[in-house]
């Protein structure tokens, strides 16, 4: 052993790594490369193009970004806009904003109230997707749904949420579903702030907002940045809203992830589906590169 840190030889270490390399190579790297090739073909699942797909160049991309029709219902541009609304509403305002608000509200508090609220929020996070989807369909139902029943108690009119406001419905759903992650991340970040900082500010007579803006936020800025990128990435790729609205009515809640699913797995147009998948992965790549540069900056600072 030349260095203290070495327990295994390089050869043994490589052997231990081999199964993981296999899985990463076959199920992550290879699909990533292959989907680029798919996106330049007219591959389908049935018919002549299933056996002998032809190289079609940029045809799939030109169709995707055909500026005359891409904002039409059920087209790619429209799905991008809906995804942007969904990410802004449920990831940024919803999960990150609400998570930060809750973590801040319960900062330095202990006891049954905090435990109850945290348990409720974590519960919403851990229950499987399909179960949650059914409870939300019941919650938002026009005639019998709990949300409308509550509105009725407040003398407010009934709303057919899933038909009239499908995007708002899935934004509410996804906020409910995922806030726990941000809340837990921010809670542990806030807990690491030395109490003396806050005491000093209190003695100086700072208001809660001033304390947050001038002391707390600068200290947890990197946590917020990390959280924003991860949540944006996950929200952009999530498919579960399909279980509640199916992308409808009339494609009004068709996120890019659901659009990909429809083109590839309901129309079986894998060439076109591949082009959408490539575009999605490029968006993911940008987000992931930002994430890695934030991580690296944190390591340098340490």
């Amino acid at each position: 052993m030349t260095r203290e840190s070495l327990v295994l030889s390089r050869r043994t270490g490589f052997l231990f790594l081999l199964p993981a390399l296999f899985f990463v190579g076959v199920f992550i790297i290879f699909p990533f490369v292959w989907v680029f090739w798919l996106s330049f073909t007219n591959q389908t699942l049935t018919g002549v193009t299933a056996v002998e797909p032809q190289f079609v160049g940029l045809a799939n991309y030109l169709r995707l970004f055909n500026l005359e029709s891409w904002m039409d219902r059920g087209e790619f541009g429209n799905a991008l806009v809906i995804s942007a609304q969904f990410v802004f509403g449920s990831a940024l305002i919803g999960q990150v904003g609400l998570g930060l608000l809750i973590a801040w509200a319960f900062h330095n508090r202990k006891g049954a109230v905090r435990e109850t609220v945290y348990t409720l929020i974590i519960l919403a996070w851990i229950v499987p997707d399909v179960v949650v989807a059914f409870t939300w369909m019941a919650f938002l139902d026009r005639d019998a749904g709990t949300l409308n029943a509550v509105l009725g108690l407040l003398n407010l009119p009934r709303v057919d949420w899933l038909i009239e406001h499908p995007v708002l419905s899935i934004i509410l759903y996804n906020t409910w579903r995922g806030t726990a992650f941000s809340m837990l991340l921010f809670s542990s970040a806030l807990a690491s702030i030395p109490p003396s900082y806050m005491e000093t500010a209190e003695v100086a007579g700072a208001s809660a907002w001033q304390k947050f803006k001038d002391i707390v936020f600068p200290l947890i800025r990197n946590h917020v940045l990390t959280d924003v990128i991860l949540i944006t990435l996950w929200t952009f790729n999530t498919f579960t809203p399909f279980l509640i609205t199916g992308g409808g009515p009339a494609y009004k809640s068709e996120l890019v992830s659901i659009h990909t699913f429809r083109i590839a797995f309901q129309y079986f147009e894998f060439g076109r589906g591949g082009a959408i998948a490539v575009t999605m992965m490029l968006v993911n790549l940008v987000l992931a590169l930002i994430y890695l540069s934030v991580l690296r900056r944190q390591e340098v600072r340490r």
């Binding site: 260095r3 790594l17 609400l98 139902d141 409910w176 809660a208 590839a264 998948a277 992965m281 992931a288």
Partner: protein, 287 residues
């Protein structure tokens, strides 16, 4: 918390601020609790109601009849068995492969290790969700593995492996090296040392990863929905969508009882991890 009482002479404006912030806090807590609790009520009440609807109703006569109907439904029960097969298969594979890889990453300097870790973080977040399923479906199709449990287990393992490896690596890096070094000094082969010294030490970490992987595969919808065809292979996440009447409306009594039944293992495993290991919060965990 604001503690104006500590000051020698609390002024009136201090007290007003104190009660206002108390009131604002109470309002915030009530709104948040309502938002997170209300959608769950349906799941807790409807399975015990013989006339279950989409409405939240406290059952006049609580009954277990809905559960009896689920237990009597061979298709529903078989789907739960399928879910268990997929969950256990994915769990074993993820835990084993991730532990080996994490050990190598924590204890050796395999050339290109940092690049591997960097690439793993990068590509595992890029190749994900529906977008990844487009090429993966074609691959599974050409391999002739469509409609097999093996395909679902392998694809799930590929997706969960990066996060599982990072959790295990963090865990192993926190362990002292002295046991392993003395095992090697006493002449154990690397594999003996791994099996007899390392594995017992990392068992708590493996348990957490195993449970996390099981819960993820158990709850996955998209992968089996795309890769499986025949009803007898479907896990519960997909099978739950077949409890419909001929008119196309869901049979609420059956669906709600099945949902609760299907969600319970996840709840118990969460409580178990919480009780046994304490709910540790891992940076990258979700789905």
């Amino acid at each position: 918390m604001n503690q104006p009482a500590r000051q020698s002479r609390p002024s009136l404006s201090h007290w007003i601020r104190f009660f206002l912030s108390r009131g604002a806090f109470a309002l915030l807590v009530s709104l948040i609790s309502a938002f997170f609790a209300l959608p769950m009520l349906w799941l807790l009440l409807t399975p015990f109601n013989a006339r279950g609807t989409l409405a939240v109703e406290i059952p006049a006569q609580p009954t277990l009849a809905n559960f009896q109907r689920v237990f009597a439904n061979a298709f529903a029960m078989h789907a739960l068995v399928n879910s268990a097969i997929l969950g256990l298969g994915g769990m074993l594979l993820v835990t084993l492969v991730a532990t080996l890889a994490a050990y190598s990453l924590a204890r050796t300097d395999v050339p290109g290790r940092d690049l591997f870790v960097y690439g793993l973080i990068l590509f595992s977040s890029v190749v994900t969700g529906t977008a990844a399923m487009v090429p993966i479906f074609m691959m599974i199709f050409y391999l002739g593995l469509i409609d097999t449990h093996l395909a679902v287990i392998l694809v799930c393992t590929g997706g969960l492996l990066p996060t599982a490896t990072f959790i295990m690596r963090d865990f192993i890096e926190g362990l002292p090296r002295s046991y392993e070094e003395s095992a090697l000094v006493s002449g154990a082969t690397p594999w003996q040392m791994f099996r007899d010294v390392v594995l017992p030490l990392v068992r708590p970490g493996m348990m957490v990863v195993a449970i996390w992987a099981f819960v993820n595969v158990w709850g996955t919808f998209l992968i089996p929905f795309i890769l499986l065809r025949s009803p007898q292979n479907m896990p519960a996440t997909v099978a739950i969508y077949s409890f419909y009447t001929e008119a196309g409306t869901p049979i609420i009594t059956l669906t709600s009882a099945y949902s609760l039944l299907f969600g319970l293992p996840v709840l118990f495993l969460y409580l178990f991890v919480n009780w046994r290991y304490g709910f540790r919060f891992f940076g990258g965990i979700k789905r």
